[in-house]
């Protein structure tokens, strides 16, 4: 797949990354090369391979519904770049709540 088929600016926007025109061109070419490489998988006959959602074979790993220890509140808040009282303080949010 050539880099023409990848909307680098859209992908960058989704990832909240700002790119210069040079970078758009360079990363576009690099991602194109990566996809070209992965494309070799198209040559394999996968008709007999079931679709999978996980590479490990284990299933049903779950825990019993029991309460354990939380972190100490102060330990948590020390990790906050910004805080206000018991809350994390974050920059203003523009888009609506998901």
């Amino acid at each position: 797949m050539s880099s023409d088929n990848i909307d680098i600016r859209y992908v960058a926007k989704l990832a909240r990354i700002e790119l210069t025109d040079d970078e758009v061109e360079r990363f576009g070419r690099q991602l194109g090369d990566l996809l070209e490489h992965v494309k070799t998988l198209h040559d394999l006959d996968t008709a007999a391979v079931p679709a999978t959602a996980q590479v490990v074979e284990s299933r049903n790993v779950a825990r019993a519904d029991a309460v354990g220890r939380c972190l100490e509140h102060e330990t948590v808040m020390q990790m906050a770049p910004q805080r206000q009282g018991a809350f994390f303080r974050v920059p203003r949010i523009i888009s609506e709540e998901s």
Partner: protein, 484 residues
């Protein structure tokens, strides 16, 4: 003029009632100090790994079974990617194309007793987000705020999302549907379903089309509805808005609209196009779920009578009114109490009258639920039997009920012990009648002068004289004979 009908689908999020969060052992508890119920997993500290809560998975399967949904043999968790500070991971663990439950039908009823159906698309399991408070704006509006405050106590709480098909046609039906979900989840014990505490949140997809059309119109998604009442008002307002747009020659645009409780209208919420590109992919930190058929069958066999089945039974078999049937169904313990009483021989309508009348009043006065009181349902059935066999009259029944409430015991024993049985022996009732007539010569004269409405007073006096034991019908007959 073209007549329009509304086409409505509901998406609702229900917080599950587990002890711990979905993927970590922090407590699942409403309220508390901000950021007190957090750990490396729900804070997304590097290296922390989620492990699914088995109870939450079982609860969603039970919810699905309650509505006859299919429980696929294979299910998995996916990452829903988005940038928003209410999830420290920058993604939410959810389920994309392989939910725990698919399909199903919610049957519900309206205030006039009509029953309706709404198909479910799916029920899936995800984690709730943290709670953000938008500050620095003065008016609390997100668009005007200069920063936000985040509390992650709710982040990671198990959340069940139920998505309906667009089978709903009015605001009233939407509320009926939500009521049915609420009752069912309360009965299953999977959620408290309190809209005011946020354990039930819902959005409505609303569109209109000319009556008779089979096409779907362009829909608007309505958000920010905080009570059943606001769901009803928001949907009505949105239907009216869309009809007005189309009637004026305009077109409804697909968008998200927020309900404004004070203004009583919906308003467009600016939304960036790419906001919905969540780039779902299977969460590599979690392994798939294979649902054991024997577990599904066991859960299915343990399923109690659903609220709608109860409602129809109460209406059909006992002829209860919509209000009485709804009241019983809304409190599962009361409905079970009623069922035990009817099962022990207490006729349906009489049992409902006692349970919802005298017993509920006593329960209110003493702050003791009926089902925890000393009146066993079998004793109530016995009391009803005594009234039906005319052994006691309804006045004595009320007195007895109060004594049963205070001390418990069999009403039959009380009646025998205290000689309260109603007397239908004409001889002894006649003696009371004679005494009353002799004691009230003026009333007797009034009656003979044509004021026949004094009869009620005279019967009352006979009842009083007999300490409530005289059969009032017989007393009336004897009085009429003697006065006539």
């Amino acid at each position: 003029m073209t007549q329009y009908e509304a086409v409505i689908g509901i998406e609702c999020h229900v917080e599950l009632k587990t002890k711990s969060k979905m993927f970590c052992a922090c407590p699942n508890r409403f309220g508390g100090e901000p950021n007190a119920h957090v750990c490396p997993v729900c804070l997304a500290l590097p290296g922390a790994l989620p492990v699914a809560n088995e109870e939450a998975i079982l609860q969603v399967i039970r919810a699905g079974l309650a509505f006859g949904a299919e429980i696929p043999a294979f299910s998995k968790f996916d990452r829903k990617n988005y940038f928003y500070p209410d999830m420290p991971k920058d993604y939410q663990i959810s389920q994309y194309d392989m939910p725990l439950a698919q399909g199903g039908v919610v049957r519900y009823w309206l205030d006039d007793g009509t029953t309706k159906e709404c198909r479910l698309t799916r029920i899936h399991l995800e984690e709730d987000t943290g709670k953000s408070t938008h500050a620095g704006s003065g008016d609390g509006r997100i668009a005007h705020s200069s920063y936000s405050l985040v509390d992650f106590n709710r982040a990671g709480v198990p959340l069940m999302e139920c998505v309906s098909e667009p089978d709903i046609r009015s605001a009233e039906e939407a509320v009926g549907f939500l009521d049915a979900l609420k009752r069912t989840f309360v009965q299953l014990g999977v959620s408290d379903v309190k809209m005011e505490e946020g354990s039930l949140r819902c959005d409505a997809n609303v569109s209109i089309r000319p009556v008779g059309s089979k096409d779907l119109g362009t829909k608007a998604e309505i958000k920010n509805m905080n009570s059943f009442r606001s769901v009803s008002r928001a949907i009505e307002s949105e239907i009216a808005r869309q009809i007005a747009v189309v009637a004026a020659g305009g077109r409804v645009v697909q968008e998200t609209r927020g309900w404004d409780e004070l203004a009583g209208t919906t308003h467009s919420m600016r939304s960036k196009e790419e906001a919905h590109d969540y780039r779902y992919f299977p969460d590599p930190d979690l392994v798939p779920i294979e649902v054991d058929r024997t577990v599904v069958e066991r859960l299915r066999s343990l399923m109690a009578d659903l609220p709608i089945a109860r409602f129809e039974r109460y209406r059909g078999s006992y002829g209860l009114g919509v209000a009485q049937a709804t009241q019983l169904v809304d409190t599962p313990q009361l409905a079970e109490y009623f069922d035990s009483c009817v099962g022990a021989g207490g006729g349906g309508q009489q049992a409902a009258n006692f349970v919802l009348g005298d017993l509920s009043r006593l329960a209110n006065e003493t702050q003791t639920p009926v089902w925890e009181s000393s009146v066993a349902p079998q004793d109530l059935a016995e009391l009803i039997g005594l009234v039906q066999s005319k052994t006691i009259n309804s006045k004595i029944a009320k007195d007895l009920l109060l004594r049963m409430w205070n001390g418990g015991g069999s009403p039959k024993a009380l009646v025998e012990h205290e000689g309260l049985a109603q007397t239908s022996d004409p001889g002894s009732v006649e003696r009371f009648v004679d005494e009353v007539l002799a004691a009230h010569p003026k009333v007797v004269a009034d009656y003979k002068a044509g004021k026949t409405n004094v009869m009620g007073f005279l019967v009352g006096q006979v009842m009083k004289q007999s300490r409530g034991k005289a059969n009032p019908a017989l007393a009336g007959e004897l009085l009429a004979q003697k006065l006539g």
